[in-house]
Subunit: 375 residues, 2 copies
């Protein structure tokens, strides 16, 4: 199996490393944007050197971003090459179109590394969906935000200090907003839900509340009441479509999610007959993410031509029936919040069951507020 | 795909249920030992009705026990049929021989349901082993013993009472020894280690200490020191072979294993580059176990002909370098134990790092003693 690698960043370099010493998969050519002396012999700046090379059967797209990744992937499929990608943004936006094109051309399109880094999440999600009915899925799908929440629970430090440490360790980026505001999770949730439910969800419409405003005082409050706060994703079947959202969530200190340390992920589905199954591991990082890219290649080599799902029906978000109690720390007075309040904690309130979509919308319109659903 | 089902117990009935309503997999014939009126039209007491039926491409063995399961599976492979089995005992003892026969005949042999019930453990273990090097594996591999330990941690009850309740709920069998003494785990560990390390381990030689002698007072001791006790399996590469053992283990109350409730399993591997990945779910039960049988069938239908491993080299157990501290509750005086003691808890001692194989052998020769490794 001869690979054409698009991109030679963290993941691309990892794929190259995995291939060295293997007899069955080799990187034949690498598309780079700037010179990489260590791979000068196989690198090119011209995509045609890959698309036009008949010896290359599979294109591995690890450049990220939508353009020109989209154009290149499309051209690779058109040229009759299999495509493996780790590109969340591309797959969340174009899964349906690219799958149809791959089917038409009789080639494979795999993207296991797009969700969960090195965790074999999408392959197992696909496996269960072919047998049982998935009712819901979600969990801890972002390592950076879990690292921050875990560190804040372990010591009495404030958000800004922990974020700074995460940045120093390379766990968080200079602009951390995609990780701490939940946008990265939303993308992974969209891909997972689309596969599980045969849906096409509008990614940007999924209500999402991040951890930007959590304080050491909030954490002390949670700890005092036996809770641990985690940024959790959820998607489940609903009466008129799919209910999906991302919000900080208080879980019992003895729950499995509460025990997930540092930058690990724990991703779960609930299926009708099979019940709950969860997958734990590194959700990011060079070798883990590149490992899932390699597994996709090996699956293709072994004849795997199935798509994660064949069904992709535009589906509405339906949060009508999703309600649970909330922790709300809000500096001010609000009649709606007052009407919901059933208990007061130190500087915050606990509400009766409130509609999730309403609560997230309200909290987003009151910057500085922190909310957490109570499971 | 037409199945011949050997056995119609809990798992066999589950497989039949899963098949109803599917167009791609059907049960054509069922071998039964006694009349089952509900499947009279497709049942037989003569194995030749299945072996001699050319329309049956795959034999599903869910009768349990080694004889005549071994003879029937062998005959099915000889007849050119694929075999799917959930039979731990059979696979632990005959994996090597049956795989060689299947390879010779060009048919598939799958046994994912033999370890972890409905958890997709063996398929993922096989996947990671084709890319990365597995260094160790193990975890919570038996639901009954986990149910008992979990219940004892939740309330101040003694072993006998919890076992009785587990039996009443159907979580434990009338003769619970295979579950509480670790023999069931040992079998699953043998199969997993053989696949992960390309080994053939001598199942009965793996040091195994169960939970038969744990008391409410032991649990109170663990709780007082921030520990949770779980019956854990371990197998890892060692200097001269594989180090494998099963023993009660004290894990930090915040560890992932500590959060595994009721009769759930959590099975883990550590791979050189990929790090730790864990799989959580129901490790037994009709639909979960039958689901893994079905997944094996679907994999075969999709052309999967790989074995979990092609390598099966007789390998020695090497516990020479495995040592860690122990909790030991022993009613008596023992010079060896005294020489190891570094701390005293209420009615028990904590030892310095002691060799695991020595400690388990010592504890087994002193009935009534309870030991737990400290991780």
């Amino acid at each position: 199996m001869q690979l054409g690698l698009l991109g030679y960043g963290v993941v691309g370099g990892g794929v190259h490393q995995w291939c060295l010493g293997r007899g069955d998969v080799a990187v034949k050519r690498v598309l780079v944007r700037s010179d990489k002396p260590e791979i000068a012999a196989i690198s090119t700046r011209d995509i045609q050197d890959i698309l036009g090379d008949d010896a290359i059967d599979t294109v591995v797209e690890v450049m990220g971003g939508i353009h020109p990744a989209y154009e290149y992937v499309k051209a690779a499929l058109e040229a009759g090459k299999n495509v493996v990608t780790a590109n969340k943004a591309l797959i969340a936006a174009y899964y349906r179109e690219l799958t149809a094109l791959a089917a038409e051309k009789g080639v494979a399109l795999r993207c296991t590394a797009a969700v969960g880094g090195g965790i074999p999440w999408l392959v197992n999600l696909e496996r269960v969906a072919r047998l049982d009915e998935i009712e819901s899925l979600g969990g801890i799908m972002n390592g950076t935000s879990n690292y921050i929440m875990d560190a804040m629970h372990r010591s009495d430090v404030d958000f800004a200090a922990v974020l700074q440490k995460a940045q120093a360790l390379g766990y968080a980026e200079a602009d951390p907003s995609a990780d701490i505001d939940g946008d990265d999770i939303r993308r992974k949730l969209t891909i997972s839900a689309n596969i599980a439910f045969g849906a096409v969800l509008e990614e940007e419409a999924i209500p999402t509340f991040g951890i930007r405003y959590v304080t050491a005082k909030d954490i002390a409050n949670f700890r005092a009441h036996g809770f641990v706060c985690k940024l959790l994703a959820y998607a489940g079947t609903a009466e008129n479509g799919v209910c999906a959202y991302i919000e900080p969530t208080l879980v019992d200190a003895h729950d499995l999610e509460a025990a997930v340390p540092a930058n690990f992920n724990l991703i779960t589905y609930e299926a009708a007959q099979l019940g709950r199954q969860s997958f734990y591991g590194q959700g990011a990082g060079r070798f883990p993410t590149a490992a899932n890219v390699m597994q996709d290649c090996l699956d293709i080599q072994n004849g795997q031509r199935r798509f994660y799902t064949e069904r992709a029906v535009p589906t509405t978000l339906d949060g009508t029936n999703e309600a649970h109690p909330y922790y709300v720390r809000y500096e001010g007075a609000d009649p709606w919040l007052d009407s919901l309040t059933v208990e007061r904690w130190d500087g915050a309130v606990i509400t009766a069951a409130a509609n999730t979509y309403d609560m997230i919308a309200w909290a987003k319109s009151h910057p500085g507020t922190f909310i957490a659903g109570i499971r």
